[in-house]
Symmetry: C2
Subunit: 460 residues, 2 copies
């Protein structure tokens, strides 16, 4: 289905025999599709293809490759050719590539770029300074800024000259002499204004911007809230540093969501595609949590052993253990997922803990009683008797309430102390409830069946 | 922190005493923030505020309210006032509101709109025809289309006249006489072209579009892949139907992800914010799955009962049951989450099942052996003896392999048969593994301890 797979063999032949025709062929194809193709070609053919393309088109293809592939091709084409491509890339993609390179390769590249265009080298260093997952790490410096006293007519002329280089032209940013952002002018407003009007007469002064330190998830939320296509990044002094565009935010949302799903299943965030990740990486991301949970499971074994004397007399108590603890674990999984998601998208705040507690407690009691009815019925049906059925029903209510409350409160607590709430994964909560549930169940059993136990011959 | 909370009391006073000043005050505020405010005002004050605003600004505020709130305010302001607001809303938001209204209210509204502007009424009906979660349900008809033979100079004049109404102006769409989409012209290209050039001389003919039936998740993926701000919707005959903008896609991604998280925790998708959802709705979304899983848990109880004779002789077998089944469940949760996420973002395709199987099998064996070593050690340490420790270790390997394989393959199977893979939730896989794991463990125990069992007195 992918264009790349369809045309790849033909293209290889063409590249060998008539490289000059390739350029024409690709003229009408989106750089993203060419990037797919370069991803599937052998290394030297990929380099040959890139070198056949006009430099600015090649740069658009190159910036769409993943960073490992970029590094591979860079080595093959030599740092000088690579630098020519890289100066044409979008500023943010360029800085990302630079941060991913081994320090010595990055240094050599930066020196080469410095010879081609010192301003770009400086720009790369400036952008690479911010953490990858902050607003500063997402922003690009390829935006259009103008003096607020310029007329719209002049502004349109500047825009026409510079539209080719800028990553986003949907908004013009008005900066004063000290580079402070004083207004924004969407291109739509610009088209509606008269050519003789000044920018500062029509621009919006109510600026919604983000600081460079802001976490990318919060940036995504802000952009989504206001339905913007881009948002400016401004430092504490009001100085404009860059712009974040919505295409990068789509990637952030997907990435953050994958991380949350992984954490919620007790897997360390992986950050690369399923088939691009080696089994060794998967093992390293899975094994530590699986071991932690396994050691946690020792408590459930010890809890059962502690009630050895009860289990020895009433053997069929043990039959219900998996059923009971999983009812608690399942309700805990439901609650924790709902609360973790609510925290992630900002529907729930730290201060809401009491409201969450009340809601989860109410649900726990209702759901617990519902399951208890069926649990009671089941025990009666298989002939365990009313006392035993009461034990099962009571334990279920206790366990489901426990599941809902722990599942709801643990993410709140983690969020409060600054740990990602997704860490309180479903398996983690289930393990906790296994041990607590067994203690509850068997201590209740000991209490309810005290007479039976007293009458039993002591074991051994 | 929210602007709305800060200014709300003052605003109420101002609205009562000097309503005309409110308009000035709000001039520099983003409609999203005013919508937050209207969300928190009492109903009649909200209506009063909306009526003080210029109609097109009020429409921007109104379209940002959630659909329940829109319906409430509509009733209060009367269908005539409401219709005046609604014709100014973005076409896609307008159609969403209409689809959410009770049929009779919707009908009345549509008739009123028809009197104000028959074209808009037709447009609402056309857009409301598509399912909410399809490309057709997301698209807007407020885009700018031009004849391909127009010059750039003329196009810019049209653009200036119509920029105010269009939801997106970042791309101009070139339609032929039969409304078929023949080319796209990003505004950036337009600014770079000479005023005398014709649109069809500079437009891109390689059009990346989506059909109206396409699922919103696939649309989101396509838009993200090509880094577009908008994507055209085109029917089977090539006729242009509308445009989807990236702000709607950000909302889709968040919504789809919330649904996946909920399904993966065995909760029916909820679709409203945590605190906006009544406890009754939560119970209805949680109870059915909790009950299904509870009934599923009966199998684990029956499985244990079936090995009654083994458990009665070797009581401490039961101590390990929760530990063992949770090791299987946890590895299953890890595998299923990784595969479900891979399927959701398109990294894994149905055809990849063999590759997934091999990967999960390899991981299952490795992780199983790792846990088995610690399980063996634990059993020896507490004095259960080498035979028992071997039983524990063997069961762990079997269970972890089972967890990884079922966790990896079940989502693939569901995806193949057209069911959302997220339905194979962590609790569902854990319940399955509980029963299978107990059977594996106790049948192995029966085999390994056959001599002990034969020597034991048959139970009374």
């Amino acid at each position: 289905m992918r264009l790349a797979q369809l045309i790849s063999p033909e293209l290889s032949t063409l590249l060998r025999d008539h490289p000059e025709e390739v350029r024409e062929l690709l003229d009408e194809i989106h750089p993203e599709d060419v990037a797919d193709l370069v991803g599937e070609l052998e290394d030297d053919r990929g380099v040959a293809l890139l070198q056949q393309l006009p430099t600015n088109y090649a740069a658009q293809v190159f910036e769409r490759l993943d960073e490992d592939r970029q590094a591979q091709l860079m080595t093959l084409m030599g740092v000088d050719s690579a630098a020519r491509l890289i100066v044409e890339m979008d500023a943010d993609e360029r800085a990302d590539l630079y941060s991913q390179l081994p320090p010595d390769v990055g240094e050599t590249l930066l020196e080469t770029i410095e010879r081609v265009d010192p301003e770009i080298a400086e720009d790369v260093e400036e952008l690479a300074r911010w953490p990858d997952t902050s607003a500063g790490g997402l922003m690009t410096t390829d935006y259009i800024s103008l003096a607020p006293r310029l007329t719209i007519g002049d502004a349109i002329n500047v825009l026409r000259r510079r539209a080719g280089d800028a990553e986003t032209i949907d908004t013009i940013f008005a900066l004063d002499g000290s580079e402070a952002l004083v207004g924004v002018l969407p291109i739509r407003q610009m088209l509606l204004a008269e050519p003789g009007e000044r920018i500062d007469e029509v621009m919006t002064r109510n600026i919604i911007a983000v600081p460079p330190e802001m976490d990318q998830e919060d940036v995504a939320r802000k952009l989504a809230k206001y339905d913007f296509n881009s948002i400016p990044v401004v430092d504490a002094d009001g100085k404009m540093l860059g712009v974040i565009t919505s295409d990068d935010i789509l990637d952030v949302l997907t990435e953050e969501q994958s991380e949350d799903v992984q954490k919620m299943a007790a897997v360390e965030p992986i950050g690369s595609e399923y088939f691009d990740t080696s089994i060794w990486i998967f093992l390293r991301k899975r094994a530590p949590w699986l071991l932690v949970l396994f050691f946690g499971g020792f408590f459930s074994a010890s809890a059962m052993k502690a009630y050895d004397h009860v289990l020895a007399v009433i053997t069929h108590l043990s039959f219900y253990v998996p059923l009971l603890v999983s009812a608690g674990g399942n309700s805990g999984a439901q609650s924790s997922s709902l609360v973790i998601r609510g925290l992630a998208i900002g529907e729930i705040q730290s201060g809401d803990w009491l409201k969450v507690l009340v809601r989860e407690l109410t649900q726990g009691i209702t759901l617990g009683v519902l399951l208890a009815v069926f649990g009671f019925g089941r025990a009666m049906l298989v002939g365990d008797g009313p006392l035993f059925a009461t034990l099962i029903a009571t334990t279920i209510v206790g366990l489901v309430v426990m599941g809902c409350v722990i599942g709801g409160m643990l993410p709140m607590l983690l969020h409060r102390i600054g740990v990602d709430p997704a860490t309180s994964s479903t398996p983690f909560i289930a393990t906790l409830i296994d041990a607590l549930g067994i203690l509850l169940y068997l201590s209740l059993a000991q209490f309810l069946f005290s007479e039976v136990l007293a009458a039993a011959p002591s074991p051994g």
